[in-house]
Amino acid sequence: MTSRALSTDVLLGLLPIALLIALWQGLVSFELAPVALLPPPGLVFSRLLQQLVTFSFQQEIIATLFRLFTGFLIAVALGVGVGMVAAASPAINATVRPLVRVLAPLPKVALYPALLLLLGFGHESKIALVAADALFPILLSTYYGASTVEQKLIWSAMAAGTPRREILLKVVLPAAMPSILTGCRIGLVISCIVVFLAEMITSTDGLGHVLITAARTFQAVDMFVPLITISLLGLILNALLQAARSYLLRGFPEA
């Protein structure tokens, strides 16, 4: 793809976002929607900038990010570990497979009340919910990646003298990395969504709580601010993961 085609693509992609904002502005300007329900975009974005520099709003972001990262990292550790072992060991596979079949489609958010009762209303229950939701996409893609590793890659390493117990770490893990990172990407987006929802349902801080507080007082402007913030956070985290991905997978075709 030439750089020129690339830049037309970018412009084309910005078009619907610009149109959306224009439509939004139009609805307000022509008084088709009352300002109380739909504040003008200029107001929302200036409030966002205003908020981003305040200490209290930064605290809310930090609370959200802390839960998001802790939960996500637990999910990565568990998902990659269990996925790899399940691909390697038929006995563990036989146990894990039906458990995953039952637990993966279970709406984890329904467990949230139980987590609240067991772990309390603090960080722990939210982290547990994030981890539970992000776990399965990571686990499944790790398993898929590990179980489709080219057999001859493993043979080559074995012939070069790699002991069986090291094959998992030295061959299967790096070979499954593209699939693992795809799972992590899905898991990360899910983490963003779930942490926000958990904070909306019950919390005393975090971005989700900011939205609920605004909703209770019918402050439409303040309802948009945390939503845009979480969208931006998601984009930034996704870009970071993408950068890590292109570094880790620099040897792989089409990474």
Partner: protein
């Protein structure tokens, strides 16, 4: 595959359910916590909820909204995803917008949508629609993108128009991937439904859950978890049956542990 292995495959998830419930039972007995009933106590509360007319109507209303939201989302998302997969212009147009929307929790739009549309069915269905759309669009997009170019050339050589190619070649070729997206979407529909009800706190399964939590009826809380969990697992299993039937022609899914262990 021998028939005994097939039976094992069918029984294993059942055993997993029983195992999980048993683990719950043991944990609850060991913890002896008032707010953590045993599995048996929770299951005993299930008939009470399903027997309660109001609760049942609430749950059925939830499911109806879910079905409508899901169906509408699938109807819109599959054509959009396929078009994006076959046209770079369409893809470039929609991709950034979708990327911005992706990390926004759809259920979190509930308060704003409620502000505009009230707390009726439309608001709740719309949220479910939004929740389901993205994975279905994404998987349809990926599926359509991966369709072998030469298959389309063969179609064109046989005189199919571009639109006919999309319906008669791209759609079936991308079907396995589309159905994977629909499966994710179905579970997401349930999740979005429950979550939006938890946030709106007006009616539905999610509302029953949190009302019970507020009132300290812990048996009911856990019984509702069982009901919602069973819905998720049941819907997924049913969809998987349909999916397996529709894509019988496609390559069997790789399903074998590695041979170095």
């Amino acid at each position: 595959m021998t028939s005994s292995a097939a039976i094992g495959r069918r029984v294993a998830p059942l055993l997993a359910c029983i195992g999980l419930l048993a683990a719950w039972q043991v944990a609850a007995l060991a913890l002896k916590n008032d707010s953590f009933p045993t599995a048996l106590e929770a299951m005993r509360a299930v008939p009470a909820i399903l027997g309660d007319k109001e609760a049942l109507i609430n749950i059925l209303a939830s499911l109806r909204r879910m079905a409508i939201g899901f169906a509408a989302a699938v109807a819109v998302s599959i054509p959009l995803g396929l078009l994006m997969g076959r046209s770079r212009t369409v893809a470039a147009f929609f991709n950034p917008l979708l990327m911005v929307i992706y990390p926004v929790p759809k259920a979190a739009l509930m308060p704003i949508i409620m502000l505009w549309l009230g707390v009726g069915d439309i608001a709740k269905t719309l949220v479910i629609f939004l929740g389901v759309s993205l994975p279905v669009i994404y998987h349809s997009f990926e599926g359509a993108k991966a369709v072998e170019e030469k298959m389309l050339w063969s179609g064109a050589a046989m005189g199919l128009s571009a639109a006919q190619c999309l319906v008669r070649i791209v759609l079936p070729a991308a079907l396995p991937e589309i159905l994977t997206g629909c499966r994710t979407g179905l579970v997401l529909a349930l999740i979005t439904m429950i979550t939006s009800e938890m946030i709106a706190r007006q009616s539905g399964a999610g509302n029953i859950l949190f009302n019970a939590l507020d009132m300290g009826q812990y048996d009911t809380v856990f019984a509702m978890i069982i009901i919602v969990g069973a819905m998720g697992i049941g819907l997924d299993a049913a969809f998987e049956k349909v999916r397996a039937r529709l894509v019988r022609w496609s390559e069997p899914q790789f399903d074998m542990p590695l041979s170095f262990s």
